[in-house]
């Protein structure tokens, strides 16, 4: 039978709670609840004063249990657990009554709100006496970090950690590191050359003694517990012996298969069947594309093998699996450029001179198909005539409920960047078709200002369609748009149109999220623990996010997040342990009927049969506290700490015994 001396502490939270309900009345009600010994209120319970008031009452009244009626437990449960612990109580003798998020902020009527507050409080008081002291377990943290994705976010995180003398395993799916940024020519707003700032970092990563670089590799599986994850990595067969290959490039020169559209250059350039994706690739050794290699298709050729001076071609190589133990994981898997092919209005993929943003980055890049010049296309091929007028359409696939409702944050700025670069290289007249110009970052508004002064024409309106006509054999694109600032329907006959396309999540984001046990938000970007206060943490201890996999962002923010994620991982590794919540299951062997249902539902193989005793046995270190076994056990022999049957039934009791609200 439960017993105890409960202290109830009701928070005003300024006017957030006290402005909606009568604290007096709620305190009067609290005094009527069983085992309640002391009832106090405070303007801000989470303040130092509020916390020490709790501690004083615990000592004065010799309390055994504490209920704090305030905000959501996700805000301050930890705070108040520490508070009562310091006053000598076990930290699990606390129950939080969520008066604010679940009640005063969402209930319109004051009386109804007070009534709901009573129900919530009764539930918390009823529950708290069922709670028993629990001890938290400290799990050791392996001093190694696995970072997934080697774009600028992953690169930054790797270097930060490696420079702090931590071991890093950097896993990249593509044959080279560098990510999207490697495709860019210039970066906004400073217009410094992307390669000039990225390549040194890529080389650092390739040479750093603390970084194990695994390119052309993917995460197969993540198991283990926080602090000690087992990461299974598939190293795809590169068909090149990385130990002996010198990266001389002879194999690529000699390969007779020439016309494979390059992934790196988004199909605007060709590569061979054995290839290095781009000149500054790290690592420098190539990869054989087995789907297009004549030897793999027809069983003969092997020219590269004959020509390789180091004898590094290895057609027999197979995918290998490597297991890495890590204390923290950082996901930096980046974004995918939106494909506008499904927007019928803009005829991308149909009209020669409708380009999408990532193509433009490639075209403007000096290692791109045109050496950095902007030439028009005819019948799918670049000509040698430059455009005289170019339109840039903003928000293609962004801020659009048909495709992606969010703002992709970078398109305004890269559109301005294109305007500058194209003007510089072609002297064309540039039109920006925008909805709003969002120049929020440091130096961005100034960049916008600069582009205005460079005579770029800004039309406020989303083009309705692009109409193709011909003018002396050359395709002419008429952009049809209403200039909303003058309410004039307009036709702009242009040579080329660029679609400033959205940044979208990777198509396999959900699959990856599942592997790591984290969640995805509504747009399939990985979900952070808290949008403001924990932007690089996730709901899984030791798993961090960096860069555009969490949401569209520019390079400065991506680098900042890379460093922030590294700091998160570093603080975990430096502390050396992780606290495991003790809210796990336990089995009463005397009651167990050995039906094995628990074994079948446990997602973590934490339960096994003791074949001698004919009972189920639980390995505490493997249990994560989901409670599946508890709810399925037909004999009631499994109980979960903190989320016990007693606790939940007590909450139900508290809610219902408070009665019904009169209508």
């Amino acid at each position: 039978m439960e017993t105890g001396r409960i202290g109830v502490f009701i928070c005003h939270c300024g006017t957030n709670i006290a402005g909606k309900i009568s604290i007096e009345k709620l305190m009067d009600f609290a005094r009527t609840l069983p085992f309640v010994d002391a009832v106090r209120d405070n303007k801000y319970t989470c303040s130092e004063l509020g916390q020490s008031a709790i501690q004083d009452v615990i000592r004065e009244r010799n309390l055994t249990h504490v209920v704090v009626a305030a905000c959501s437990p996700s805000m301050h449960e930890k705070t108040f657990r520490n508070t009562i612990e310091k006053a000598g109580l076990n930290r699990y003798m606390l129950s939080i009554c969520n008066l604010r998020e679940m009640n005063t902020w969402v209930t319109e009527d004051n009386e109804v709100s007070l009534f709901k507050a009573k129900k919530l409080l009764a539930a918390a008081v009823r529950r708290v006496v069922t709670q028993k002291p629990l001890e938290e377990e400290k799990l050791p943290v392996t001093s190694r970090v696995v970072i997934v994705g080697a774009g600028i976010a992953g690169i930054e995180a790797s270097l930060q950690l490696a420079n702090a003398d931590k071991e890093v395993v950097l896993v990249e799916r593509e044959p080279s590191i560098g990510g999207q940024m490697a495709r860019f020519d210039k970066t906004f707003p400073t217009l410094d050359c992307a390669a000039c700032i990225l390549t040194p970092k890529m080389v650092d990563v390739g040479q750093h003694p603390n970084i194990t670089l695994m390119t052309y590799s993917e995460i197969e599986e993540v198991t283990g517990v926080p602090g000690k994850y087992d990461v299974k990595i598939r190293k795809k067969a590169r068909s090149i012996d990385e130990v002996t290959c010198t990266g001389c490039g002879i194999c690529e020169e000699e390969c007779p298969i020439k016309k494979i559209p390059s992934e790196f250059y988004v199909g605007l350039k060709y590569r061979k069947a054995v290839y290095k994706p781009f000149p500054q690739a790290v690592p420098q050794y190539p990869v054989i594309d087995r789907k297009n290699c004549t030897y793999f298709l027809k069983g003969k050729c092997r020219i590269c093998e004959k020509e390789c001076p180091a004898g590094s071609i290895d057609f027999e190589q197979e995918d290998t699996f490597i297991n890495v133990e890590a204390g923290a994981l950082i996901l930096a898997t980046g974004f995918e450029p939106f494909d506008p092919v499904n927007i019928p209005h803009y005829h991308y993929g149909e009209y020669d001179n409708v380009f999408r943003a990532i193509e433009m980055e490639t075209i403007l890049n000096s290692s791109g198909p045109t050496g950095g010049d902007f030439f028009l296309r005819k019948d799918g091929k670049f000509t040698n005539s430059k455009p005289k007028s170019v339109g840039i359409i903003h928000c293609v696939g962004s801020r659009d409920e048909n495709y992606n409702p969010y703002c992709s944050r970078v398109c305004c700025m890269y559109s301005l960047k294109y305007a500058h670069l194209i003007k510089e290289r072609t002297d064309a007249t540039i039109y920006q078709f925008y909805i709003d110009i969002r120049a929020f970052g440091k130096g961005y508004e100034e960049f916008y200002d600069r582009l205005q002064k460079e005579c770029v024409i800004f039309i406020r309106g989303k083009p309705g369609k692009i109409i193709k006509t011909e003018q002396s054999g050359q395709e002419k694109l008429i952009v049809q748009v209403e200039d909303s600032l003058t309410q004039t329907p307009l036709h702009f006959p242009l040579d080329a149109v660029i679609l400033s396309t959205a940044l979208v999540s990777r198509p396999d984001a959900h699959e990856v999220a599942n592997k790591f046990g984290i969640g995805c938000g509504s747009e399939s970007f990985f979900r952070e623990l808290h949008p403001k206060l924990a932007p690089v943490s996730t709901q899984v201890d030791g798993v961090f996010l960096a860069g555009a996999c969490q949401g569209p962002k520019d390079i400065p923010d991506t680098v900042a997040q890379g460093a922030a994620a590294a700091a998160g991982a570093l603080s975990l590794l430096s502390r050396g342990y992780i606290v495991n919540e003790p809210t796990i299951a336990s089995i009463d062997e005397d009651l167990c009927s050995n039906c094995k249902m628990c074994i079948s539902v446990c997602p973590y193989d934490a339960i096994a049969e003791d074949t001698e005793k004919k009972v189920a046995v639980l390995t505490a270190s493997k249990c994560k506290g989901c409670g599946l076994c508890v709810s399925i056990c037909p004999s009631g022999s499994i109980e979960q700490a903190y989320y016990s049957d007693d606790a939940i039934l007590a909450e139900i009791k508290g809610i219902i015994e408070t009665g019904k609200l009169k209508g």
Binding site: D449, E454, L490
Partner: protein
Amino acid sequence: MSSFSRYAVPDLEFRKKIIDMSQENLNFCYQCSGCTGVCPLNMVIKFNPREYIHRSQIGLKPLPMDFEKLWQCTTCAACEDLCPKEVEITEIVAALRSYAIDTGEKVPGSYTQALESFYSYGNPFNLGADARSDWAKELNVPIANKETEVLFFVGCNASYDPRSQSIARALVSIFNKANINFGTMGNKEKDCGNCIYFMGEKELSDHERSQNEAVINEIQPAVIVTTSPHSYNFFSKRYDLPKGTKVYHYVQYLDQLIKEGKIEFTKSLPETNVTFHDPCYLGRHNDVYDEPRRVLEAIPGVKLVEMTNNRRLTNCCGGGGGNSWAETDINERLSIPRVNEALETGASVLATACYFCLTMLEDGVKGVNREQDLKTKDIAELVAEAL
């Protein structure tokens, strides 16, 4: 392209012309529409400076009716004062007016008449250039020469308009009492060029300016004092003057004379509440706000009371940009709301320091039939009365 004829195709030539004529001011605008939000004309008509700017930016000519309406802009610079991008919107207005004149767009009659008179006589009143100094005949106003220290630039209205001549006379009497060695350009004075510049006749403005410059270069005065803030604006910003020649609007000059003790008030006006209307070309165009107030407060008997919209927030009298010579429907006159503001202060004198303002506001007072309650005066007149 006839099948798309319902859609306008922008005219980049037009855009380029306006960019060139407005000294690239067009490019700076990001269409926040603060100009339209603050434009005092919207108290009386619907007027959208932002749209003029944007149409020019994207190569769309204003519609004919908008071209006509453009003449009602008084170039008061309320828009420029607010503009977060420091766009010189009056330059764009001037450029668009030039374009309208050059391309034969319809220019409303009263503006055409004023401009034609400027062409023929160097003044807007269709009066002979040789009659310019007639107002001074009985006053023995000297003609400036190399010995003259202060060149008094009278301006068109103070020369020809009977009401405004009173300002010139007041100034002459002040100069005499302060023993200033001054002179005018006599009939050699041409109009200063400011108004015709903002009316879009930039070449004529250049011509008049260079004629004035030639005379001034001969005189080599130490100081030029102008009656009109408009002349002051043009002299201080666009005139090529002899090295060392300083330009003052007369309130600045009087302020100095009072400071130096050269003006001594011998009489006191009867206890009078005076409110001051900031002329746009003195205040917003040239940041001269304190000097007229100091001069007013120095006059014995004057108590300065401010209107709600004063200094940078001043509302326009409606006379700038050539509008003082134009016929405006009484319901479209900016002077009416401004006079009402002045009446709200309870002042019995509405003072100003610009002959356009004086003319417009006096008409405004008549327009609301309150001549008994509110007198309109120029600061120079008030000063002269107290000497």
